[in-house]
Protein backbone atom coordinates (compact mmCIF):
# COMPACT_ATOMS: atom_id res chain seq x y z
CA UNK A 1 0.00 0.00 0.00
CA UNK A 2 2.76 2.43 0.83
CA UNK A 3 4.96 1.49 -2.09
CA UNK A 4 2.51 2.32 -4.90
CA UNK A 5 1.57 5.50 -3.05
CA UNK A 6 5.22 6.45 -2.76
CA UNK A 7 5.99 5.85 -6.41
CA UNK A 8 2.87 7.72 -7.42
CA UNK A 9 3.79 10.64 -5.18
CA UNK A 10 7.29 10.79 -6.53
CA UNK A 11 6.08 10.56 -10.08
CA UNK A 12 3.63 13.34 -9.44
CA UNK A 13 6.17 15.56 -7.71
CA UNK A 14 8.75 15.03 -10.44
CA UNK A 15 6.29 15.64 -13.26
CA UNK A 16 4.84 18.70 -11.54
CA UNK A 17 8.27 20.15 -10.79
CA UNK A 18 9.38 19.53 -14.36
CA UNK A 19 6.25 21.17 -15.74
CA UNK A 20 6.65 24.07 -13.37
CA UNK A 21 10.18 24.49 -14.62
CA UNK A 22 8.90 24.58 -18.18
CA UNK A 23 6.05 26.96 -17.41
CA UNK A 24 7.71 28.84 -14.59
CA UNK A 25 11.00 29.81 -16.22
CA UNK A 26 9.53 31.76 -19.14
CA UNK A 27 6.86 33.24 -16.91
CA UNK A 28 9.46 34.30 -14.35
CA UNK A 29 11.67 35.68 -17.13
CA UNK A 30 8.78 37.70 -18.45
CA UNK A 31 7.84 38.98 -15.00
CA UNK A 32 11.44 39.96 -14.33
CA UNK A 33 12.24 41.72 -17.58
CA UNK A 34 9.03 42.89 -19.23
CA UNK A 35 8.41 46.61 -19.29
CA UNK A 36 4.68 46.32 -19.87
CA UNK A 37 2.91 48.81 -17.68
CA UNK A 38 0.23 46.43 -16.44
CA UNK A 39 2.75 43.76 -15.56
CA UNK A 40 2.16 44.31 -11.86
CA UNK A 41 -1.40 43.04 -12.30
CA UNK A 42 -0.03 39.78 -13.69
CA UNK A 43 2.37 39.56 -10.78
CA UNK A 44 -0.61 39.81 -8.45
CA UNK A 45 -2.56 37.18 -10.40
CA UNK A 46 0.33 34.71 -10.29
CA UNK A 47 0.14 34.72 -6.49
CA UNK A 48 -3.60 34.12 -6.31
CA UNK A 49 -3.86 30.31 -6.49
CA UNK A 50 -2.43 29.92 -3.00
CA UNK A 51 -4.91 32.37 -1.53
CA UNK A 52 -7.75 29.87 -1.93
CA UNK A 53 -8.00 26.86 0.37
CA UNK A 54 -6.63 23.88 -1.53
CA UNK A 55 -9.81 21.83 -1.41
CA UNK A 56 -11.78 24.80 -2.67
CA UNK A 57 -9.34 25.39 -5.47
CA UNK A 58 -9.57 21.66 -6.14
CA UNK A 59 -13.33 21.89 -6.25
CA UNK A 60 -13.25 24.70 -8.79
CA UNK A 61 -10.75 22.79 -10.87
CA UNK A 62 -12.99 19.76 -10.60
CA UNK A 63 -15.91 21.74 -11.94
CA UNK A 64 -13.76 23.28 -14.65
CA UNK A 65 -12.52 19.93 -15.92
CA UNK A 66 -15.85 18.14 -15.36
CA UNK A 67 -18.35 17.36 -18.11
CA UNK A 68 -20.36 20.46 -17.27
CA UNK A 69 -17.67 22.79 -18.57
CA UNK A 70 -16.81 23.29 -22.25
CA UNK A 71 -13.20 22.39 -21.54
CA UNK A 72 -14.21 19.16 -19.82
CA UNK A 73 -16.46 18.18 -22.73
CA UNK A 74 -13.76 19.00 -25.25
CA UNK A 75 -11.19 16.96 -23.33
CA UNK A 76 -13.62 14.07 -22.99
CA UNK A 77 -14.33 14.12 -26.70
CA UNK A 78 -10.64 14.22 -27.46
CA UNK A 79 -9.41 11.47 -25.16
CA UNK A 80 -12.50 9.44 -24.47
CA UNK A 81 -12.27 9.87 -20.71
CA UNK A 82 -12.51 12.67 -18.21
CA UNK A 83 -9.56 14.43 -16.63
CA UNK A 84 -10.83 13.99 -13.08
CA UNK A 85 -9.66 10.97 -11.09
CA UNK A 86 -6.67 10.46 -13.38
CA UNK A 87 -2.98 11.15 -12.96
CA UNK A 88 -3.16 13.91 -15.54
CA UNK A 89 -5.86 15.58 -13.52
CA UNK A 90 -3.66 15.51 -10.43
CA UNK A 91 -0.88 17.09 -12.43
CA UNK A 92 -3.10 19.90 -13.65
CA UNK A 93 -4.32 20.71 -10.16
CA UNK A 94 -0.91 20.51 -8.52
CA UNK A 95 0.75 22.63 -11.18
CA UNK A 96 -1.85 25.30 -10.73
CA UNK A 97 -1.57 25.27 -6.97
CA UNK A 98 2.23 25.25 -6.81
CA UNK A 99 2.75 27.83 -9.54
CA UNK A 100 3.36 30.79 -7.19
CA UNK A 101 5.91 28.84 -5.18
CA UNK A 102 7.88 28.13 -8.32
CA UNK A 103 7.53 31.39 -10.21
CA UNK A 104 8.00 33.96 -7.48
CA UNK A 105 11.47 33.00 -6.24
CA UNK A 106 12.63 32.56 -9.83
CA UNK A 107 11.35 35.96 -10.87
CA UNK A 108 12.91 37.58 -7.82
CA UNK A 109 16.34 36.16 -8.54
CA UNK A 110 16.16 37.02 -12.24
CA UNK A 111 15.17 40.58 -11.43
CA UNK A 112 18.19 40.92 -9.16
CA UNK A 113 20.70 40.11 -11.92
CA UNK A 114 23.18 42.71 -13.11
CA UNK A 115 21.78 44.02 -16.40
CA UNK A 116 25.29 44.81 -17.60
CA UNK A 117 25.96 41.09 -17.93
CA UNK A 118 22.93 40.65 -20.15
CA UNK A 119 24.11 43.59 -22.24
CA UNK A 120 27.55 42.07 -22.52
CA UNK A 121 26.05 38.81 -23.70
CA UNK A 122 23.99 40.53 -26.37
CA UNK A 123 27.02 42.48 -27.55
CA UNK A 124 28.88 39.22 -28.05
CA UNK A 125 26.16 38.27 -30.50
CA UNK A 126 24.09 36.04 -28.25
CA UNK A 127 20.36 35.82 -28.85
CA UNK A 128 17.92 36.25 -25.98
CA UNK A 129 17.57 32.49 -25.94
CA UNK A 130 21.29 31.92 -25.57
CA UNK A 131 21.60 34.70 -23.01
CA UNK A 132 18.87 33.04 -21.01
CA UNK A 133 20.56 29.66 -20.97
CA UNK A 134 24.12 30.81 -20.49
CA UNK A 135 23.70 33.86 -18.24
CA UNK A 136 20.26 34.34 -16.73
CA UNK A 137 19.65 30.75 -15.72
CA UNK A 138 23.06 29.94 -14.18
CA UNK A 139 23.25 33.23 -12.32
CA UNK A 140 19.63 32.97 -11.20
CA UNK A 141 20.09 29.38 -10.11
CA UNK A 142 19.67 30.02 -6.37
CA UNK A 143 16.18 31.34 -7.03
CA UNK A 144 15.34 28.62 -9.54
CA UNK A 145 16.48 25.98 -7.10
CA UNK A 146 14.42 27.53 -4.34
CA UNK A 147 11.38 27.55 -6.59
CA UNK A 148 11.83 23.92 -7.53
CA UNK A 149 12.47 22.77 -3.98
CA UNK A 150 9.43 24.62 -2.69
CA UNK A 151 7.13 23.30 -5.40
CA UNK A 152 8.53 19.77 -5.16
CA UNK A 153 8.13 19.62 -1.39
CA UNK A 154 4.78 21.27 -1.56
CA UNK A 155 3.53 18.77 -4.12
CA UNK A 156 4.66 15.96 -1.85
CA UNK A 157 2.79 17.38 1.09
CA UNK A 158 -0.29 18.90 -0.46
CA UNK A 159 -3.35 16.67 -0.41
CA UNK A 160 -6.34 19.00 -0.56
CA UNK A 161 -6.23 19.61 -4.28
CA UNK A 162 -5.06 16.10 -5.03
CA UNK A 163 -7.78 14.50 -2.96
CA UNK A 164 -10.42 16.62 -4.59
CA UNK A 165 -9.35 15.97 -8.15
CA UNK A 166 -7.93 12.50 -7.74
CA UNK A 167 -10.56 10.77 -5.64
CA UNK A 168 -8.10 8.83 -3.49
CA UNK A 169 -8.00 5.70 -5.66
CA UNK A 170 -5.27 3.43 -4.25
CA UNK A 171 -2.59 2.77 -6.84
CA UNK A 172 -3.95 5.40 -9.20
CA UNK A 173 -4.44 8.69 -7.41
CA UNK A 174 -3.68 7.96 -3.76
CA UNK A 175 -0.52 9.80 -2.83
CA UNK A 176 1.50 9.32 0.35
CA UNK A 177 0.14 12.49 1.86
CA UNK A 178 -3.44 11.24 1.36
CA UNK A 179 -2.40 7.93 2.81
CA UNK A 180 -1.02 9.54 5.95
CA UNK A 181 -4.08 11.70 6.19
CA UNK A 182 -6.29 8.62 5.93
CA UNK A 183 -4.31 6.82 8.56
CA UNK A 184 -4.59 9.75 10.94
CA UNK A 185 -8.30 10.01 10.23
CA UNK A 186 -8.66 6.30 10.94
CA UNK A 187 -6.95 7.01 14.27
CA UNK A 188 -4.28 4.53 13.25
CA UNK A 189 -1.51 6.66 14.69
CA UNK A 190 1.17 4.00 14.71
CA UNK A 191 0.97 3.45 10.97
CA UNK A 192 0.52 7.15 10.36
CA UNK A 193 3.65 7.95 12.33
CA UNK A 194 5.57 5.36 10.44
CA UNK A 195 4.44 6.65 7.07
CA UNK A 196 5.07 10.26 8.01
CA UNK A 197 8.53 9.40 9.28
CA UNK A 198 9.27 7.57 6.06
CA UNK A 199 8.17 10.54 3.95
CA UNK A 200 10.10 12.97 6.12
CA UNK A 201 13.33 10.98 6.09
CA UNK A 202 13.07 10.43 2.39
CA UNK A 203 12.69 14.13 1.73
CA UNK A 204 15.34 15.04 4.22
CA UNK A 205 17.85 12.79 2.50
CA UNK A 206 16.85 14.14 -0.88
CA UNK A 207 17.18 17.78 0.18
CA UNK A 208 20.38 17.15 2.12
CA UNK A 209 21.94 15.61 -0.96
CA UNK A 210 20.77 18.52 -3.08
CA UNK A 211 22.06 21.20 -0.72
CA UNK A 212 25.19 19.23 0.00
CA UNK A 213 25.96 18.97 -3.70
CA UNK A 214 25.35 22.64 -4.14
CA UNK A 215 27.69 23.39 -1.27
CA UNK A 216 30.44 21.16 -2.63
CA UNK A 217 29.75 22.96 -5.90
CA UNK A 218 29.87 19.70 -7.78
CA UNK A 219 27.99 21.53 -10.48
CA UNK A 220 30.73 24.05 -10.92
CA UNK A 221 28.02 26.66 -11.02
CA UNK A 222 28.07 27.83 -7.51
CA UNK A 223 31.54 28.75 -6.52
CA UNK A 224 32.11 31.95 -8.40
CA UNK A 225 31.08 34.16 -5.55
Amino acid sequence: MILPALTLTLRLAVVVSALLLVIGLPLAYWLAFSRWRWKFLCEAIVSLPIVLPPTVLGFYVLVAIGPLSPFGRWYQALTGHGLAFTFEGLVVGSVLYSLPFAVQPMAASFAALDRKLLDASALLGASRWRTFWRIVLPLGLPGVLTGIVLSFAHTLGEFGVVLMIGGNIPGATQTVSILIYDQVQALDYVTANRTALLLLSFCFVLLAILYGLRRRSAWGLWDWK
Partner: protein, 233 residues
Amino acid sequence: LTVAAAADLNYALKELAAQYQKKTGTAVTLSFGSSGNLFSQIQNGAPYDLFFSADEDYPKRLAAAGLVEGGLPRTYAVGHLVLWVRNGVSVGRSHQVVDILLQPSIKRIAIANPQTAPYGRAAMSALEHLGLKDKLASKLVFGENVSQAAQFAQSGNAQAGLIPLSLALAPSMKDAGSYWELPADSYPELRQGVVIISASKHKKAAQAFLDYVTSAEGSAVLRQYGFRVPDGR
Protein backbone atom coordinates in the same frame (compact mmCIF):
# COMPACT_ATOMS: atom_id res chain seq x y z
CA LEU B 1 -22.72 26.98 23.88
CA THR B 2 -20.26 25.49 21.38
CA VAL B 3 -21.41 22.45 19.49
CA ALA B 4 -19.15 20.26 17.39
CA ALA B 5 -21.04 18.41 14.71
CA ALA B 6 -20.41 16.10 11.80
CA ALA B 7 -20.64 17.71 8.38
CA ASP B 8 -23.78 15.86 7.33
CA LEU B 9 -25.75 17.68 10.02
CA ASN B 10 -25.00 21.05 8.49
CA TYR B 11 -28.49 22.08 7.42
CA ALA B 12 -30.44 20.24 10.10
CA LEU B 13 -28.46 21.54 13.05
CA LYS B 14 -28.42 25.07 11.73
CA GLU B 15 -32.17 25.07 11.65
CA LEU B 16 -32.41 23.46 15.08
CA ALA B 17 -30.00 25.95 16.56
CA ALA B 18 -31.94 28.85 15.08
CA GLN B 19 -35.23 27.58 16.42
CA TYR B 20 -33.72 26.85 19.79
CA GLN B 21 -32.26 30.30 20.05
CA LYS B 22 -35.59 31.83 19.13
CA LYS B 23 -37.27 29.74 21.78
CA THR B 24 -34.82 30.01 24.67
CA GLY B 25 -32.53 32.86 23.77
CA THR B 26 -29.46 30.67 24.17
CA ALA B 27 -26.96 31.24 21.36
CA VAL B 28 -25.54 28.04 19.89
CA THR B 29 -22.22 28.21 18.05
CA LEU B 30 -21.87 25.42 15.52
CA SER B 31 -18.51 24.03 14.50
CA PHE B 32 -18.67 21.49 11.72
CA GLY B 33 -15.95 19.06 10.78
CA SER B 34 -15.28 15.46 10.03
CA SER B 35 -16.08 13.25 12.99
CA GLY B 36 -12.52 11.97 13.03
CA ASN B 37 -11.00 15.44 13.26
CA LEU B 38 -13.46 16.49 15.92
CA PHE B 39 -12.61 13.36 17.87
CA SER B 40 -8.87 14.12 17.77
CA GLN B 41 -9.52 17.67 18.79
CA ILE B 42 -11.70 16.73 21.74
CA GLN B 43 -9.02 14.31 22.85
CA ASN B 44 -6.60 17.23 22.79
CA GLY B 45 -8.78 19.54 24.81
CA ALA B 46 -11.03 21.29 22.32
CA PRO B 47 -13.47 23.65 24.06
CA TYR B 48 -16.66 21.99 22.81
CA ASP B 49 -19.68 21.33 24.97
CA LEU B 50 -21.50 18.84 22.78
CA PHE B 51 -20.34 16.47 20.09
CA PHE B 52 -22.81 15.24 17.46
CA SER B 53 -20.94 12.47 15.69
CA ALA B 54 -21.84 10.85 12.39
CA ASP B 55 -21.51 7.42 13.98
CA GLU B 56 -21.45 5.81 17.40
CA ASP B 57 -17.85 4.72 17.33
CA TYR B 58 -16.12 8.01 18.09
CA PRO B 59 -18.45 8.89 20.97
CA LYS B 60 -17.92 5.43 22.40
CA ARG B 61 -14.19 5.84 22.25
CA LEU B 62 -14.43 9.19 23.97
CA ALA B 63 -16.57 7.58 26.60
CA ALA B 64 -14.01 4.83 27.05
CA ALA B 65 -11.35 7.49 27.53
CA GLY B 66 -13.52 9.10 30.21
CA LEU B 67 -13.84 12.35 28.39
CA VAL B 68 -17.62 12.49 28.30
CA GLU B 69 -20.35 13.13 30.79
CA GLY B 70 -22.49 10.12 31.65
CA GLY B 71 -21.63 6.62 30.53
CA LEU B 72 -22.83 5.97 27.04
CA PRO B 73 -23.61 8.15 24.04
CA ARG B 74 -27.18 8.83 23.08
CA THR B 75 -28.34 8.04 19.61
CA TYR B 76 -30.08 11.08 18.19
CA ALA B 77 -30.58 10.04 14.58
CA VAL B 78 -30.11 7.27 12.07
CA GLY B 79 -28.81 8.02 8.61
CA HIS B 80 -30.07 6.80 5.25
CA LEU B 81 -27.88 5.90 2.37
CA VAL B 82 -29.15 6.82 -1.09
CA LEU B 83 -27.96 6.44 -4.65
CA TRP B 84 -27.77 9.85 -6.25
CA VAL B 85 -27.54 10.25 -10.02
CA ARG B 86 -27.08 13.47 -11.89
CA ASN B 87 -29.74 14.68 -14.28
CA GLY B 88 -28.89 13.75 -17.81
CA VAL B 89 -27.19 10.48 -16.96
CA SER B 90 -29.12 7.62 -18.48
CA VAL B 91 -30.42 5.35 -15.71
CA GLY B 92 -32.34 2.84 -17.84
CA ARG B 93 -35.95 1.91 -17.21
CA SER B 94 -35.85 -0.38 -14.25
CA HIS B 95 -35.34 2.08 -11.40
CA GLN B 96 -33.86 -0.72 -9.33
CA VAL B 97 -30.73 0.44 -7.55
CA VAL B 98 -28.79 -2.59 -8.73
CA ASP B 99 -29.74 -2.05 -12.36
CA ILE B 100 -28.96 1.63 -12.26
CA LEU B 101 -25.53 1.00 -10.79
CA LEU B 102 -24.77 -1.44 -13.59
CA GLN B 103 -25.74 0.97 -16.36
CA PRO B 104 -22.82 1.46 -18.78
CA SER B 105 -23.33 5.22 -18.65
CA ILE B 106 -22.18 5.11 -15.03
CA LYS B 107 -18.43 5.07 -15.18
CA ARG B 108 -17.56 6.47 -11.79
CA ILE B 109 -19.30 6.01 -8.48
CA ALA B 110 -18.38 8.30 -5.63
CA ILE B 111 -18.47 7.13 -2.04
CA ALA B 112 -16.91 8.43 1.15
CA ASN B 113 -13.67 6.84 2.28
CA PRO B 114 -14.72 3.53 3.88
CA GLN B 115 -11.67 3.53 6.13
CA THR B 116 -12.64 6.70 7.90
CA ALA B 117 -16.24 7.62 7.13
CA PRO B 118 -19.21 5.64 8.51
CA TYR B 119 -21.21 6.32 5.35
CA GLY B 120 -18.32 4.99 3.30
CA ARG B 121 -18.35 1.77 5.31
CA ALA B 122 -22.09 1.55 4.89
CA ALA B 123 -21.80 2.07 1.16
CA MET B 124 -19.22 -0.69 0.86
CA SER B 125 -21.30 -3.18 2.78
CA ALA B 126 -24.36 -2.26 0.74
CA LEU B 127 -22.47 -2.93 -2.47
CA GLU B 128 -21.27 -6.21 -1.07
CA HIS B 129 -24.75 -7.16 0.00
CA LEU B 130 -26.09 -6.38 -3.43
CA GLY B 131 -23.34 -8.50 -4.96
CA LEU B 132 -21.80 -5.59 -6.83
CA LYS B 133 -18.58 -5.11 -4.93
CA ASP B 134 -16.26 -6.86 -7.35
CA LYS B 135 -18.03 -5.65 -10.48
CA LEU B 136 -17.89 -2.02 -9.44
CA ALA B 137 -14.61 -1.95 -7.53
CA SER B 138 -12.74 -0.30 -10.38
CA LYS B 139 -15.41 2.40 -10.75
CA LEU B 140 -15.25 3.67 -7.19
CA VAL B 141 -13.72 6.99 -6.27
CA PHE B 142 -13.35 8.04 -2.68
CA GLY B 143 -14.12 11.37 -1.14
CA GLU B 144 -12.49 12.52 2.05
CA ASN B 145 -15.98 12.54 3.52
CA VAL B 146 -19.57 12.37 2.33
CA SER B 147 -19.57 15.97 1.19
CA GLN B 148 -16.71 15.38 -1.15
CA ALA B 149 -18.36 12.24 -2.50
CA ALA B 150 -21.46 14.35 -3.16
CA GLN B 151 -19.32 16.97 -4.90
CA PHE B 152 -17.78 14.37 -7.17
CA ALA B 153 -21.25 13.39 -8.31
CA GLN B 154 -22.70 16.87 -8.32
CA SER B 155 -19.91 18.24 -10.55
CA GLY B 156 -20.56 15.43 -13.03
CA ASN B 157 -17.11 13.92 -12.73
CA ALA B 158 -18.70 10.88 -11.13
CA GLN B 159 -21.99 9.87 -12.63
CA ALA B 160 -23.39 8.41 -9.41
CA GLY B 161 -22.76 8.68 -5.71
CA LEU B 162 -23.74 6.76 -2.61
CA ILE B 163 -24.40 9.54 -0.14
CA PRO B 164 -26.54 10.27 2.90
CA LEU B 165 -30.10 11.27 2.30
CA SER B 166 -29.45 14.42 4.27
CA LEU B 167 -27.04 15.62 1.58
CA ALA B 168 -29.25 14.52 -1.29
CA LEU B 169 -31.87 16.86 0.13
CA ALA B 170 -29.52 19.84 0.15
CA PRO B 171 -30.77 22.56 -2.24
CA SER B 172 -27.94 22.29 -4.74
CA MET B 173 -28.27 18.51 -4.94
CA LYS B 174 -32.03 18.32 -5.03
CA ASP B 175 -32.26 20.28 -8.27
CA ALA B 176 -29.31 18.67 -9.99
CA GLY B 177 -30.30 15.00 -9.86
CA SER B 178 -32.53 12.33 -8.42
CA TYR B 179 -32.00 9.72 -5.72
CA TRP B 180 -33.08 6.23 -4.83
CA GLU B 181 -32.95 4.90 -1.31
CA LEU B 182 -30.90 1.80 -0.78
CA PRO B 183 -32.67 -1.14 0.88
CA ALA B 184 -32.35 -0.62 4.62
CA ASP B 185 -31.23 -4.21 5.16
CA SER B 186 -28.28 -3.90 2.78
CA TYR B 187 -26.09 -2.04 5.27
CA PRO B 188 -25.74 -1.84 9.04
CA GLU B 189 -27.84 0.79 10.70
CA LEU B 190 -26.12 4.21 10.71
CA ARG B 191 -26.75 5.23 14.26
CA GLN B 192 -25.40 8.65 15.07
CA GLY B 193 -24.40 9.29 18.68
CA VAL B 194 -24.10 12.44 20.73
CA VAL B 195 -22.16 13.09 23.94
CA ILE B 196 -21.66 15.91 26.37
CA ILE B 197 -18.00 16.65 26.89
CA SER B 198 -16.91 16.32 30.51
CA ALA B 199 -14.60 19.33 30.27
CA SER B 200 -17.58 21.52 29.35
CA LYS B 201 -18.39 24.46 31.58
CA HIS B 202 -21.98 24.59 30.34
CA LYS B 203 -23.17 21.07 30.97
CA LYS B 204 -26.68 22.13 31.94
CA ALA B 205 -27.20 24.18 28.83
CA ALA B 206 -25.73 21.39 26.75
CA GLN B 207 -28.15 18.93 28.29
CA ALA B 208 -31.03 21.32 27.55
CA PHE B 209 -30.06 21.67 23.89
CA LEU B 210 -29.63 17.92 23.62
CA ASP B 211 -33.05 17.39 25.07
CA TYR B 212 -34.48 19.81 22.55
CA VAL B 213 -32.84 18.02 19.64
CA THR B 214 -34.20 14.67 20.75
CA SER B 215 -37.66 16.05 21.54
CA ALA B 216 -40.52 15.51 19.17
CA GLU B 217 -40.03 19.00 17.80
CA GLY B 218 -36.35 18.33 17.13
CA SER B 219 -37.01 14.93 15.67
CA ALA B 220 -39.40 16.45 13.18
CA VAL B 221 -36.71 18.77 11.95
CA LEU B 222 -34.21 15.93 11.72
CA ARG B 223 -36.70 13.87 9.76
CA GLN B 224 -37.32 16.75 7.44
CA TYR B 225 -33.59 16.84 6.64
CA GLY B 226 -33.38 13.18 5.83
CA PHE B 227 -32.68 11.42 9.12
CA ARG B 228 -34.64 8.70 10.77
CA VAL B 229 -35.18 9.01 14.46
CA PRO B 230 -34.13 5.91 16.34
CA ASP B 231 -36.66 3.36 17.48
CA GLY B 232 -37.49 2.77 21.08
CA ARG B 233 -38.10 6.33 22.02
